[in-house]
Symmetry: C2
Subunit: 320 residues, 2 copies
């Protein structure tokens, strides 16, 4: 939870003068998200979200992200839609940072994801994958195998400070996963970070997806593997196969998966667990004094990684 | 900025069942306030604020605060109004904490208070003082002279770690201020914490006052002295007499001040500076590892204290 950049009422007023969305009636920093500063912005024309992009987002990637959100929204995916200024631009500068206003989505994200959330999640993910197929811009996944190798290089030396033996386990894991990593699964735009706080529901109905700032081109099934990790483990890190089955079955009804995709799921889930383990470990080892966000404990993802590693096939996910 | 308590969608739904305000459409933690957890709660009947009272607020004081907000709202002061549940109660429990829903106020607080804000501020403060005169409940100001003595006792030993010589300066200051502190100025309900982030404006018009969780019975002129400190210094801690004059004159038009009140202003402002210096110093010396809120630097209030101490009378505030 964080708002890194304080925006004055004066600067806001000046910023809004470039838009046709009315004048600010309320403006409150939102205590969610760790990458950017998000504000709830109510104008006399309705609610919006104002985002200031902080240092973790590469400014060069912003046209990709904002263009994607517009593209998906145009194909019926409910997601934040960038609002154009009077000059037609969606990306401008506020308080020295790139900034954009997007539409406001109703709904509440589930703090404790339940089976009832997982079917609608799988369906929405598949629809997003299909809607993204004709998005004409590419962005490589900087947090895939090559990125993991870079992260391991930066964390290896102190990994054992976090957990004895972790450095060796990570090395072996990365070697194996890299050697086995597929190269011929169906690709497209993936969300790559579809955790429960990025999915809104209202009365049991999924009402929207947010936070596309890790979106990139990669295997579509890898997105499903990210969701297996993010949604299907209980707080004690036991795996809930009911959730996984509901999610995967709903996904397959919208976008049928090949046998190769299904067979690859344990490996993709292992890679995804490794990805979140490495970034969490990096953040844990590089804590900044006085930082506003407490890093997440990497331990959870050590356990998830081991779970997927020990599977013989996708049957454990309820895949028939 | 902080949300200390995460409220699940399930717990929220259960909580809202006791109210007649519709179902949640959006629910977002607000990155403002350091004492409590505040959520923006949009239901199909409109926007509200949900507050969970964290450990710094004494539960026994909550009926005083919530009753005061209702009392003031009933007398035309725009402030958050507690919303009754179906049982008529405004205070209940959520996630193990006392919690209340209040009305949502429009407006934006000024990050850089300008002279244009100060007249409306003085007027609103005086109106609030008058509206509070017949509030039938009392609450002593726990952060007046006796409270300062307790705070000094807890900070004296390490005050010099923060700034050499500070312990002695604080002792002398508290001795003098205690000896001179008046006992016969007009009293009533004061806000006691009316900083810029607690006052909303819309298009130059003051639209409301929030955060009454330090409100208490004390000298009405002491509230004006708090505002002198909170609103009339520039970021470099130079005093802006134009702001002070606008504020005090607007106040006096609504609630005329006695000569004794005006003469006491430098002493009251000195006491108020001492109060914020002591609480900030206490927080600074008692920082908690991993805390979500960075304590405010006490230095600003050392300078403010010295400014008021050196004045010969209220003329420096533009008082004629």
């Amino acid at each position: 939870m964080a708002v890194y950049t304080a925006v004055s009422d004066q600067k806001l007023k000046h910023f809004l003068a470039d838009y046709d969305i009315g004048r600010a009636i309320s403006f409150k920093g939102i205590a969610e998200g760790v990458e950017n500063s998000n504000y709830f912005l109510l104008t006399d024309k309705g609610p919006h979200i104002l985002t200031l992009y902080e240092k973790r987002v590469a400014p060069d990637d912003l046209p990709f992200f904002l263009g994607l959100m517009k593209h998906l929204a145009g194909r019926g995916i409910v997601c934040p839609t960038p609002i154009h200024g009077r000059d037609g631009e969606v990306l401008r500068t506020l308080c020295g940072r790139p900034a954009a206003i997007t539409s406001f989505l109703s709904g509440v994200w589930p703090l404790s994801p339940a089976p009832v959330h997982c079917g609608p999640l799988g369906e929405a993910l598949a629809k997003m994958h299909i809607a993204g197929l004709d998005y004409p811009v590419r962005r490589e996944n900087s947090l895939s195998v090559v990125g993991w190798q870079a992260l391991l290089a930066e964390t290896r030396e102190r990994a054992n400070d976090f957990a004895p033996g972790l450095a060796k386990e990570l090395e072996q894991e990365l070697d194996e996963v890299s050697a086995l990593w597929p190269d011929d699964l169906p690709e497209g735009i993936i969300h790559a970070d579809l955790f429960p706080d990025n999915v809104f529901y209202e009365g049991g109905k999924l009402t929207g997806l947010i936070d596309f700032y890790f979106a990139c081109n990669d295997f579509l099934a890898y997105d499903l593997a990210v969701c297996l990790n993010a949604w299907c483990f209980e707080p004690n890190v036991s795996f809930n196969v009911t959730k996984a089955r509901l999610m995967i079955n709903a996904y397959r009804k919208v976008r049928p998966c090949s046998d190769a995709e299904l067979s690859a799921l344990p490996l993709l889930a292992r890679g995804s667990a490794l990805r979140f383990l490495l970034t969490r470990l990096y953040d844990w080892l590089n804590q900044v004094d006085g930082a506003m966000v407490k890093p997440k404990d990497p331990t959870e993802y050590i356990k998830k990684l081991r779970f997927h590693r020990d599977l013989s096939g996708p049957g454990a996910y309820g895949v028939e």
